[in-house]
């Protein structure tokens, strides 16, 4: 259902989420997030280009890292998100707590600034 990739670049960590994140597949996203947070990176970029659907359990994964990211001062930026998925983040109110931008370049720039 979902394909979660993780790449460690020079100064950031790139996670790509492909497919649909529901209750059962959210564990893969959680694993990737966990690895990224546990590594020494200070920036995590999440490419949501091929993320077609995210359930409340998937949102729960991002939500559960908010506090930890803050404590460790890691910047998390989501980008390339389609409008339908963005709407889901928006309704829950997560867009107010997470940084969501449209392109990778923006994400890189923003993560430097933050």
């Amino acid at each position: 259902m979902v394909n979660v990739g993780i790449e460690f670049k020079d100064d950031y960590c790139l996670i790509t989420v492909d497919g649909e994140v529901d209750a059962s597949s959210s564990i893969y996203l959680d694993e990737a997030m966990h690895r990224a947070v546990e590594s020494n990176t200070k920036k995590i970029l999440v490419d949501c280009k091929n993320l077609r659907y995210i359930s409340s359990a998937g949102l729960g994964v991002f939500m559960s890292y908010i506090q930890e990211l803050e404590n460790k001062q890691i910047k998390l930026v989501l980008f390339n998100m389609n409008s339908k998925v963005y709407k889901v983040f928006e309704i829950l109110g997560l867009h107010q707590l997470l940084t969501i931008v449209s392109t990778e370049e923006e994400a890189k720039v923003l993560s430097d600034e933050l």
Partner: protein, 690 residues
Amino acid sequence: MRSYKHVIRLTLFLGIVSWLTLLVTDLVVLFGQVNHIQSGVPEGLRTVLLEIFFIALFFYYKFITGRAERVNFIDLLWRVFATGLLATIVSLTIFLFYQLLGNSRLAENIFLINFFYLIIFGLVTAFLTSTLMVWKELILYQKSKRLLTLWSVFEYTLLLSILLSFFPLNPIGYFYSTVLLVLLVLGLVLSVNLKWVAYLDFRQKWKSIIIMMAIAIFLAYFFLDLNSYAQNYSQVLPMELQDNLYISALFGFTFIYSLFSLLVILFNLPTSSVFEQKLEEVINFQRLSQSTQDGYNVEQIYEILLDSSVKAVFADAAWIEVEDGTKSLLLTKNISKDKVKVLKDQLQDEVNQPEIIRPLPLPLPNEDYRQRRKRHRMLKLPEYRSVLWIPLIVKNTNIGVLVILKEVADGYNKEMIGIINTFASQACISVENFQLLGETLENERYKEELKIANRVQRSLLPKKPISNDAFDIVAFSEAADQVGGDYYDIYQINHHKFIIIIGDVSGKGTSAAFHMSQMKGVFHSLAQLDLSPDKFLEYANSALSRCLEKTSFITASFFVVDIEQRSIEFARAGHCPTLYYSAQEKHACFLESKGLGLGILRDKRFNNYIEVNKKNYQSGDVVVLYTDGITEALNAEHEQFGYERLKCNIEKNADKEPALQQQLLIQQLYDFCGNRILDDDYTVLIIRFK
């Protein structure tokens, strides 16, 4: 059955009457001959009477002889034997009677001679006919269509031969001999059908041999007796009955079949133990395969296996050792448990092949399971020179071993090994079935538990629609699993204020259900405080933050309805935007506002994200609260039901009763999803103001 009884009585009566009449007519004719008087008896009368007698007896025995499927073979043979014995006793008594009379005048009395002759002849005919019918049952045991036809031909020819007595045939004549020959050849062909013999056990075979021998002797004795009687008194007998074609054929056939049976049983005697053995193996196999249904437990299955294996190969001793994760089991037969320990050590030392006790490696993809189950080994011990070691494999794991011991060397042939392997694998299948049955029962129990959970959870939600002067409310909620995470509730604070909440716990199933019940607790505690929507949600967030799992959150919408002011005040905690239909504008829109799910920020910062809105309602306005299970429901093309369809549906049906509105909405949702099972909890709450 009733008609059979009538036929039997009728034929018996007819038989007796025709015999008596024959006797009387014979004596009358004789009396006429002696005294040179015309007796006035018609020429053919006696022949007709004789034929009636034959035919009556034929059908009497035909109907009286039971079907061999129901009657025991030995019983059938006994019946023939008893008839024969009776006839013999009578015949011997007559013989003795003559011996006692010596050369007295009475012995020469032709009436007495004729009388006795007819008695003996009647009894012999009865014996022959009853034997014929019993032989028929034996021959037709496990009959084929061909055999049945052949027998019918034989039977009809016999009946025909009775009628042939009408014609004064010369016993040495051409026609007579031909018919007799045909009958005897047919009888010979039929006599090779001896399948019943195979089903006798050893004791029954011995009994049958003795009875058959007696029957054969009876037959020979009667044949000789009748003939000698006729020769001795040929000048005084009105007709020589034994020269009858029918009687000759009967004598021939019954004798041939007795002889065949006798020989076949005799030659079958040595192999009967093998047949019994095979039969027992089949029965044991059946016991093993049906053990699960018959309510045996696993230990009993192993006991059956041990028992039948020992019997099947005539083993001197055997044991089964099973290590089944939690418990170990050692069953022995003709050997002590201490001895087993010693032998086990010896076996391992001697062959030094550790793989025989180690669990087998996982099967290769192409490996046949049945092949796998046949991994026996032949070993040797000083005391038991043939040891058969068979691993017991259940669900691909080696759970134990069956060891069969024989003192002689090379104690097992291919057949025996095959049988033991079959037993072992069948036992393993039974054990496997038994375990599966246990697991199924366990699952059933869990299902029952979940049903209870479902009932309890349903009781947490308001059941009845609410209707008062100001509004009607209907609600509908369904969980994807037995229990779910959707929640709604309505609470009256005072005579003009109501609060309404709808909530959705992230995820679904059992964990969501627990959080849902926590939410109900929080709602009911806070409801009594008469809080504004933002305060309510802030307290709720604070309370839930302490008990929700790290990855769980709850979305909720909270409403305060004031029916005096005709207003609603509401706040949204990350829940799907409420749909509001205005009756005046005939238009529905989603009430978008700022908000954040409960449990996402677990501190005071949460308060910054909550916004309160207020709205006055008009008569006919409709508020639709729902969970994302509705808008995110998918159809076969993976398309979501979405906000637009929801809005259109409500606009279209807004002037209808809320109960009907809800029904139409759910109907459209189901039509949209088609056969797809909804994979999220979904709830809808419709409020219509008056």
